[in-house]
Symmetry: C2
Amino acid sequence: MLSKRARYAIKSLIYLYKNEGSSPVSAKSISVNENIPFKFLEKILRELRQHKIIKSERGAEGGYRFFKSPQTVRVVDIMRIIDGPIALVPCVSENFYEKCEECVDEEICILRRLFSELRDQMLPVLEETIADLSQK
Amino acid sequence: MLSKRARYAIKSLIYLYKNEGSSPVSAKSISVNENIPFKFLEKILRELRQHKIIKSERGAEGGYRFFKSPQTVRVVDIMRIIDGPIALVPCVSENFYEKCEECVDEEICILRRLFSELRDQMLPVLEETIADLSQK
DNA sequence: ATAAAACTCTACTAATTTGGTAGGAATTAA
DNA sequence: TTAATTCCTACCAAATTAGTAGAGTTTTAT
């Protein structure tokens, strides 16, 4: 399952996409309209900012905007930032690879083929961008 | 990510498939050969037995056998038993459906389409059986 | 009979992750 | 200067995960 943090992050970005205009979008308005606990949201937005997905403007009338274009930010990017690997076993993860500790022989580990096939099926779906997602 | 319990469960079943013969396979031998903590494994095997995936024979020379044929036990079945839903959001789960609490309007929840598409891509891969998986 | 090898069951525990909350400092527009 | 806003650190509670402990039950071989 996705964590709530990841769900909140994706929803926030969709909201941002739909509401970004001449002025940036405040955390408060995201919180209220998307029903996300304010303080929790702040932390999520910070993480997205630190990963250069969004940028912030401080002070009154401040808020958030996209840093990268929403046409290039993919759902998979957000999931990796917030929840970590997409793959279900670490030894087939592209971005978070780790040897499976208890695997006797990784070369012939029988789970690798299945779960790398699974990852290959998942990725294209998750490569949808925030912009595309918001419009459908 | 898969939980260790689920990884252990799948590996145990593959081991069982490869070693089941005239005599059943003991938890001890699975534990030693697959490098799984013995007492932890016992609990996992119990769950698989309670869900009629395997059956047990008690006493000396006892152990485990398949209850259902390994040609019919799918990876997805084990994952659901041990880890729960396959879908990444509860509102698109077939077997563990739940309304997403914070969703303002489920009908138009923008995440549903994406994650139900994802689930549809994942399922066929995970429908591979223990028998098939063991042979490739 | 009895000892050994196995499964069965309940209960507990430790570590990690998740989902937050609290409070204040810094910044900016009006 | 004040109100609105982000920024940052620290903390906390609940849930989940990954085990461990130990006593009990069943069966086989001797």
